[in-house]
């Protein structure tokens, strides 16, 4: 049975590593990660993840810009995107949703719950 493919994008290597381990728990997801929006777009085009988890605050190409680039490319325009961020003030969350993000997972995330949170966000968007 194919696993759900998850791409995790974050410029902080420590967080990336922890997120990769966390998403791998339970062996439900196939996880790849990269450090920037610039890397994320070509990787998403070739690997075709089922969902992309994006950090918001990244140097050069930030989360929202990465989302725009993914949306504007045919191969990646339909991939659901969830922001994983510490910037979770009301107006910030509203702006992510307005950009077309499926949902927001706040940092610090709970490693043991990350898989469940991703699934719930995907499911809640289909309701």
């Amino acid at each position: 049975m194919d696993k759900l493919r998850v791409l995790y994008v974050d410029d902080e290597p420590d967080i990336r590593e922890i997120a990769t381990i966390s998403l791998g728990l339970g062996d439900e997801f196939a996880v790849k990660s990269c450090a920037s929006g610039e890397e994320a777009v070509p990787l998403a085009k070739t690997w075709q993840p089922d969902v992309i988890l994006l950090d918001v605050m990244m140097p050069v190409v930030d989360g929202p810009e990465t989302l725009r680039r993914l949306r504007s490319a045919d191969e990646t325009s339909d991939i659901p995107i969830i922001f994983v961020t510490a910037r979770t003030q009301k107006q910030e969350i509203e702006s992510y949703i307005a950009l077309g993000a499926l949902g927001v997972i706040p940092k610090p995330f709970m490693p043991m719950e990350l898989v469940q949170q991703v699934k719930e966000t995907l499911v809640s968007a289909t309701r």
Binding site: M1, D2, L4, E12, D14, I15, I18, A19, I21, S22, L25, E28, Q48, D50, V51, M57, E75, D78, I79, P80, T85, A86, R87, T88, Q89, K90, Q91, E92, I93, K107, P108, F109, M110, P111, M112, Q116, K119, E120, L122, V123, S124, A125, T126
Partner: protein, 593 residues
Amino acid sequence: MDSIIAMVEGGSVIVVAVLCCIFFGERLRGSLWLGGVVYGVVFAITGAIVMSNSVELIPGIRTDPRNAVAVLSGAIGGPVSAAISAIAMMALRWSYGGMGAVAGMVSIGAAAISSVVLWAWWTRWRGLQPSKMYIFYQAAFPAAAVHALVIFMMSQAPPEIFIRSISMATPTNFLAVLLLGGLIVSEQQRRWAMKSNIEMQAHLAAIANNAPGMLFQMMLDEKGRLLFPYVSEGSRRIFGIRRQRFLQTPDFIYELLDEADGQRLKEVLTASAESRNRWSFEAVYHHPTRELVWLQLSAEPRIDSQQRLVWDGSISDITTQKRNEQMKNEFVATVSHELRTPLTSIHGALSLLASGTQGEMPQSVRRLLTLALQNSERLKNLVNDILDIEKIESGSMPFELEPVQLDSLIEQAIDANANYRSSDEVTITFRNDAPGVAGLIDPDRFNQIIANLLSNALKFSPPDGLIIVRLEEVDGLARISISDEGPGIPVSFQHLLFEKFEQFDSANNRTKGGTGLGLSICKAIVERMDGTIDFVTEMDAGTTFIVEFPVVEIASEPARDTDQLAKSLRQRLIDAKEEDALEPSRPREALSR
């Protein structure tokens, strides 16, 4: 006929004196000596003129309003004036000689003295502000009573002459004082009113011009065009533009504001003209010499004395306030990000280690790991609590209220709490006395409240203690009570319980963790959801926190099993891939099937 003409002549002289008094009086008001001398001279001349123009109304009896002049001199000019005019008139009467010389002199003197006594009494009692009532007293006492007494006492004339004299002199003097004094007082009052009106306007203009912001009065003419009957000097501070510009070309304000803000102003005026409600909105202005200026425009409608609708209002510069608000938001966002980024790594790494998924480790390491994890948890909660407080206080915490059954939420919160509990053998029992009862709440926030109260109860429970969570319905309210068997809350601390950063501090409590923000957040959240929170406590017996929400009706809804849905989602995604193996997968399409 001659006597009437003479009376009119006498009256005219007094009127001229009165006008002189008013003219000088205004300039010399409050100056007892100089004012008194001027008044005295004017009344002395007046007295001399009226005495040389006496009228023979009754054959053999000549009369004139000399006593009235003496009274008015004292009443208006005070003691100095009374003395000067009285001495002059008495000397004149002496020079005339005759049978009634002494009586005439005494009557002038008595009139002057009595008017000064009344003046002194009135000035002490009411201040230097003569009224018509004062003039009436001045007319009545000296001109009638004192006058009559003096004549009676001093007269050497036969009673017949005396009676005829009194019957003429008393009413003439009384009426003269009343009429002329009244004239003076009403003229003085009119002038003072005018003057104080001008002064008041100057005061108000000074206040308005020095008030922060720009004050204005605004109205719409019959064609709906904007008019400014008044604009304060603040226009220069706010817009860098003279007030006359607004008064002359009121539409100018639309040029100053952005197009959208100008439209907004038109809309609020139209709406307020109909509803008669106060309006207020924020706008931006591109100042010629400063950067962008934020303005707050507001006004209150009223109907003026000419039955026109006018708005009294102000435009204030709120740029600093706006900038501070923005800086605070940026600060909070930055702090939250900068603190949470390292915390994500620390807490994440510790959680993964402690979960045992990364391999087993010796007991001594596990213990240290648990300590580190608990403290990173505490730090995380602190950051979250500080951000929560900021959000609640700034009103930016989102609340999505919906009718929700409380029992299932409470059960979830208890289960979640059980997962985080350390090894203490504390038992949590849920007594559901109101199954299915619902409140209009935000489920996430409700969960936050229960989790917080449970964690408090756990913190203060003795090992092997019992926590009872109870849900009941009392008088249309859903009551959730959480009771522990802890040490209780000391009386001295009870009033601080819901305050920020307050923790009952004793030797062993510091080690129990917590930020001191939990209960103040709980209270704020409960109140935002129309509920109340309170507590009952007994030392060494335990504490019960009681949260109440109004009960609402709920339409039954099947429970959602997210796990189930997640499974079916995954299956659908897999199916979609298998069906369309050549094409790249389209999760969005798959999701929407």
